[in-house]
Point group: C2
């Protein structure tokens, strides 16, 4: 089964003018063939492809959609600012309002710097850690995604090994591994990166072990290195604060992006006074980093985050989805592994080493109007309702039944099978 | 003289929550003290600071403002798309329309990839050149700005030298220097970067010597390396094509940003079939790279570029400014060096080794409602009129007169004086 005729026509044109037909994390190259590549419209919790099919969107733009696509309050704030000015010869006062809002919400933060990509924020955090400490070594957990710059891209094609010099990996949630990496770094340790929980692609998620998080803080304190929480993907979906605040652990630096302007393009590095001097010394900038419209959208998004129960609601919605999927799958004899926070669910199948079952289920869900991802964590947004979740669970029930009938005839996606065989 | 009270109040708040009070290229740290840091509004060719002062803006947001701030045609296209969807779980069909538009306009281009920062585009071009050739060495002209990533930032604080491994500099417009660098790279030469003309800060600009540009192409052809034109700053201000097309030289890759969506956040790498394979192999992505609103703005901006005389007009306006400034300065006994294309003017003073004269003139211009920059090239936009330019020249005449009276009491900006002493 392939995507619709309009999608196919766009794909044909795209093959001529985009390398490989599409690039980056929104390419459907590693998704089932029926998944549309191109979308026409999005509203609230829903997405329409270019062939007019509507989906409840459990990917939420890979995170940015936190309050609902086109949230009217955020859209109004953006539009008001657009009438005044966006990209100008200097920032508007909103950059100060926004920095103050984030510093007031994120306990460890004393200051903020804004950029565009999550990768900008993680790269700046790394550079600030080095500038602050005068050291070189950076620790990152194996398989953790921190962006697509040469130092961190998961596919290092075209990257020379020197660009990743002084980047060492350790095992997430493994205190002994972290201690060994810190010891090996000696007095050259500049910073330790950690995602707020383990949200690697193609595998089960895992919450952060509080003892591991505390030990990371202790080790950084002991060596004078900077602890960096990469909250780009999870930021404001786990807490109205840095995600590790729940564990009682405060980093020196945190990286933010995706959701804090509800889909408007802006990211941020937040930092403590422990590295303000380092942050003041680096040079990082971009043509659109000071644009006022995304800052207006962010200020309004943060107000909504503070003043509404969006967080409690996405947790309730996520729990409803998780328990519903558990019921539906077991009633059809499938064993799901649902991991990570309920509002950022990863759904994998037991006994599915090459993901052929997960792919077929995603196809069946898509055919029933629910967009799920077979190997990347998903996202719940505050525009979803109980009825949306119930409809998704109903679709899942039908999808499991249909999957049961097809089970013997499934074939794996060739590239994904290869990835899984080496994972 | 300092900026206005609202600007000063914002600066005080900013010092608490932004490292150093401000960061990046829009910081006023290296500008005269009277220059406002914060702006309230922009329309057409004009900019209003937070104290209500209006300026004819010869910086054009450091480039993005090409057609005029808030151009109604572009704003309408952006708003139409915003009502449909912006950052979604996949791109809209606009990514194909936009790639086709750029490929149709830029002679060397067979394909396009979109990103957010100019730095994204230059970094991807570097990585593509390495992926395509399987080689490592990258040549860049000394002092040329290609962005603020670790491999290219002009202030390498917090950068480890290894991140710049295999980056070698040569002298712009100097064929012997380029030949020597190419020879030294031997069979490890992946790519040669060139800005379309020499537009380095703090010094005179220089147009590209056609013989140098042709020789760069020949050397790349002979060695199988990729020629990369960094058109981020100058793109579509010199030509409705890659800037070096005017010289008859076609690169393999070009980097674009700033202006092609008239201030909406989007940048691009364009490439020839000579490196389509390399481009298909790299992994680069960002949370907002596929957002539809900036693509709608870009498609409309490009239509306007194709269908109007914007380019011929900014040249006429730039010539009017240059000749007017030449007249006004010499009538007051000042010798200006006005260099580079007239639509991207650099204005420096003779006999001004620490820039104290240029700074004072910029202050006098600002006081008369014209925002000029003392050491960075400026930008003309298509929303300017003959009357705007005449008013700027009139302001300049008065500014030169006022400057003449202050000449003996000027003191240099301490950091700029230091930069100039080592430049």
């Amino acid at each position: 089964m392939s995507s619709g005729p309009n999608d196919q026509a766009l794909r044909r044109r795209a093959r001529a003018v985009l390398p490989g037909g599409m690039y980056g994390h929104e390419s459907t190259r590693l998704l089932p063939a029926s998944f549309p590549q191109f979308f026409a419209r999005a509203q609230g919790a829903y997405l329409w492809d270019v062939d007019g099919n509507r989906y409840l969107d459990l990917m939420c733009a890979y995170g940015p959609n936190l309050l609902g696509y086109g949230d009217e309050r955020v859209a109004a704030a953006a539009q008001r600012q657009a009438a005044l000015g966006d990209t100008m010869t200097g920032p508007s006062g909103l950059i100060v309002d926004l920095a103050e809002a984030l510093v007031s919400m994120v306990s460890h933060a004393d200051w903020a710097m804004f950029c565009k990509n999550g990768t900008d924020a993680t790269t700046m955090a790394m550079t600030i850690a080095r500038a602050q400490t005068g050291r070189r070594r950076i620790l990152v957990a194996e398989h953790s995604y921190h962006g697509s710059a040469p130092w961190c891209t998961p596919v290092p094609t075209g990257v020379v090994p020197e660009e990743r010099a002084f980047i060492t990996s350790y095992t997430y949630n493994d205190i002994a591994s972290l201690e060994a990496a810190v010891a090996a770094a000696g007095d050259d340790l500049a910073g330790v990166f950690a995602t707020p929980f383990k949200h690697d692609s193609f595998e089960d998620q895992a919450l952060a072990d509080a003892a591991y998080a505390r030990r990371a803080r202790e080790l950084c304190d002991a060596s004078g290195a900077m602890l960096i929480v990469d909250d780009v993907r999870a930021g404001f979906r786990l807490a109205r604060d840095c995600s590790w605040e729940q564990l009682g652990v405060r980093p020196d630096l945190s990286a933010w992006g995706k959701s804090f302007a509800n889909g408007h393009p802006i990211s941020a590095v937040l930092g403590s006074d422990s590295c303000r001097q380092g942050a003041s010394g680096i040079y990082a900038t971009g043509s659109f980093w000071f644009s006022a419209v995304p800052m207006a959208a962010a200020v309004e998004t943060l107000r909504i985050l503070r003043e509404t129960d969006y967080l409690e609601r996405i947790v309730v919605l996520g729990e409803r989805l998780r328990s519903g999927l558990a019921r539906a799958s077991s009633s059809h004899g499938f064993r799901l592994r649902q991991t990570g926070p309920v509002q950022m669910p990863q759904v994998l199948f037991d006994d599915d080493p090459d993901m052929r079952i997960g792919f077929a289920w995603a196809e069946e869900m898509l055919a029933r109007g629910v967009y799920v991802h077979p190997w990347h964590n998903m996202f719940v947004c505050a525009a979803m309702t109980d009825d949306d979740i119930d409809a998704a669970v109903q679709a899942a029930d039908e999808a499991f039944a249909a999957l049961r009938l097809r089970l013997d005839s499934l074939v794996p996606h060739p590239i994904v099978a290869q990835i899984m065989s080496t994972h």
